[in-house]
């Protein structure tokens, strides 16, 4: 299952909710303000790094670049473009959009 997160972890609890519900081995894609969860050295970093032991994390390149944080992404988070987003949606068994 692919989970998408489109809100910052500092404004909404959609990432927390996703992490509570997602089955081990899920793919989690950070988009829009959700990419702030990919930021290294932040308050949320350790939460994401712990979750990365169970899930594969991705972040959308255009949204990282729009916020100027493309060079400060947590090691191990895979950066994908829109074509990569489409591939993730197709390859996984379904998509859960957390809003």
């Amino acid at each position: 299952m692919l989970h998408t997160i489109n809100k910052s972890p500092y404004t909404k609890n959609s990432l927390d909710t996703c992490l509570r519900m997602a089955k081990e081995g899920s793919a989690i894609l950070l988009i829009e303000d959700g990419v702030y969860a990919a930021l290294t050295g932040s308050e949320i970093t350790s939460t994401v790094e712990t979750a990365m032991k169970k899930h594969t994390f991705y972040a959308l390149s255009a949204d990282l670049e729009a916020r100027g944080i493309q060079d400060r992404v947590i090691d191990g988070i895979k950066v994908v473009d829109y074509a990569g987003f489409v591939d993730l949606a197709a390859e996984n068994s379904g998509v859960q959009s957390w809003l």
């Binding site: 998408t4 489109n6 988009i31 829009e32 303000d33 255009a62 949204d63 473009d81 829109y82 074509a83 987003f85 489409v86 591939d87 949606a89 197709a90 379904g94 998509v95 959009s97 809003l99």
Partner: protein
């Protein structure tokens, strides 16, 4: 693969209309089919042809209309959400006694059943917005 999309957010609110548009474009480029794009809640504001953004800004509504014309996309606006927000085609305007309609080219107004059908008929469904 068949995709259906729901947009729940207005065109210039956050980023949902942009992400949905970019996703749809990328999926079409890869040869996937877009079964339907359903505009719900404030997302219905993506369907007004009276939107006039500054010339150096992206024109979210026109972009949808052009993509629909190029690829024969089915862009559906939820009727109940549209009535609340003043989005009407000629039939809806007449039915509700309004003096004008404002639906953008390529969009049509229909009911929530179209969203359910899109979910059933598609391999994947994605929601963008709030």
């Amino acid at each position: 693969m068949k995709f259906s999309i729901a947009v729940h957010e207005g065109p210039y609110t956050h980023e949902a209309s942009d992400t949905a548009y970019q996703f749809v474009t990328a999926a079409l480029e890869k040869g996937h089919e877009i079964f339907r794009v359903f505009f719900y809640h404030d997302g219905v504001n993506n369907g007004t042809r009276l939107s006039t953004p500054p010339q150096d800004d992206r024109n979210v509504i026109k972009r949808w209309s052009e993509l629909a014309e190029k690829h024969g996309l089915d862009l559906v606006v939820c009727v109940a959400a549209a009535q609340r927000r003043g989005i009407a085609d000629a039939d809806e305007a007449k039915r509700n006694g309004k003096d004008a309609d404002n639906i953008a080219p390529g969009f049509r107004i229909s009911g929530l059943g179209q969203l359910i059908e899109a979910c059933i008929q598609s391999d994947r469904h994605l929601t963008f917005g709030d």
